[in-house]
Symmetry: none
Subunit: 249 residues, 2 copies
DNA sequence: GTAGCGGGTGACGCTGCGTCAACCGCAAGG
DNA sequence: CCTTGCGGTTGACGCAGCGTCACCCGCTAC
């Protein structure tokens, strides 16, 4: 006789008894009858065939409700599979981008770990100040450098940490392909602006903030630091700062 | 004052109020206090910073409990990210394999659909016959094509079904790792030979049958059809036909 | 009589919130 | 003074696909 109990189907197909009961509960696969001793489920050939189809489609990653629709004839199998393939492609893409971002973050953390706080401002010495002063004007440069020189050792440890946080977050957004003008980016730039403002002797205006962006790209001490977060990161940062200066200051 | 209410944090960070309440509920991010009017949550700078860290890690796809562990200092961020990257790689792999299986299934279904009798021989037009003729000799090609052109509509429906049965069985044997010269394989090839012979104007000789195998591999109309049964199936089929031609004809 | 097998039916748990539902505090307008 | 509306509060259910108890039943073998 081709009738099987739950346990026999388990042995035949490898699914668990719980799964079979679940399929019954959601109406995906009802047994032929439940007339066995103690209300046991009994499956027959049509149910076995249906189960095999279900397992086939499930192996492809289709959802149970979709499978039910297909088996009910309400959905074209080929069309459903094509849609599923498209979903998978999107998911693949999403994960690839995620993985790239994670990898970038890992590289940054490795870089940041090599980046001891006290080395952060070592480069800010006189020759560059002269050089910088010629390029963007005395006032901006003096204020920026002076503020940094005036920091206490505590600040020299705390401020880079905050810089680091902002830069790391920015690099992540950049890796995602966000525009420098993107709201999420601009929020971080706002943090940066606030951080800078706290250490300048007065609130920097738009021009001064833009000047700082220029300083970052032109001074190798800054630039080399930022470029560790990815080639072109400095330019990206500058663009974001310019956008902030344009729209928010 | 740098205290923010729920709505302000929503505007600042883009998360929903529900999410903030959820984070509070699971102990991931508690507000500084809930002393506002009506027990409103109030967040301060440390909470904002923590939230930004949370969002950063969440964008990387880390789970909330892992993020909590990292922020609590119980887990090294870099190590967690490395493990996460490995997870992502595995997931990527899994989805890639799934997508490949889905694509293969789609091709099979399309094949079955394209195997609708009337489309089976649509490609056999003159340009290809000329091309084929040059490659394997006039007589073989003319006979093969002529036989196909001469079929009645009934045959155009019945013959592909038999072709399909043979090809399916062959693919199964190939999947089992059987050699093209294996007796079981050769039995099926004999069926194929008989089927072909029934529709040629005379019994094809060994050379003609080998020529048909070459036709299968060289003509994309056939090849694409057969490759739907697995990459390399056409070559397998040809090898089996060659073996048959060598030993049985 | 009892132990054991092979089943049965609830019901909770997992993840990360979305989405009601029902209620509260406060300010402005009629 | 009452209403309206905003912005919040705390539950509680729902989502996918079962795994995993907990507890019960019927039949068979010893």
């Amino acid at each position: 006789m081709d009738t099987w109990t739950t346990a026999e189907l388990v042995r035949l197909t490898g699914v668990t008894a719980r799964t079979l009961r679940h399929y019954d509960a959601i109406g995906l696969l009802a047994p032929a009858d439940t007339g066995g001793p103690g209300g046991q489920r009994r499956y027959r050939r049509p149910q076995l065939l249906r189960l095999q189809q279900i397992l086939l489609l499930k192996r492809l990653g289709l959802r149970l409700d979709v499978i039910a629709d297909i088996l009910a004839g309400g959905l074209d199998e080929l069309a459903a599979l094509r849609r599923h393939a498209a979903d998978l492609a999107r998911e693949q893409d999403r994960i690839a981008r995620l993985a790239a971002t994670v990898d970038a973050t890992i590289r940054q953390l490795e870089g940041a770990r090599a980046m001891a706080p006290e080395t952060w401002f070592d480069g800010l010495d006189d020759p560059h100040r002269d050089d910088a002063r010629r390029r963007w004007g005395r006032a901006v440069v003096e204020r920026a450098y002076q503020a940094m020189q005036d920091m206490t050792p505590e600040q020299r440890r705390a401020v880079p940490a905050e810089f680091d946080r902002i830069a790391t977050a920015l690099a992540a957004l950049r890796a995602e392909g966000r525009d420098p003008g993107d709201p999420a980016v601009q929020t971080l730039v706002a943090d940066h602006y606030a951080l800078v403002a706290r250490h300048w002797d007065s609130e920097p205006g738009a021009a001064a903030y833009r000047g700082l962006g220029a300083l970052y790209t032109d001074d190798p001490r800054f630039r080399d630091q930022y470029e560790q977060r990815g080639a072109g990161f400095t330019a990206y940062l500058r663009a974001a700062m310019d956008a902030y200066a344009d729209t928010r200051i």
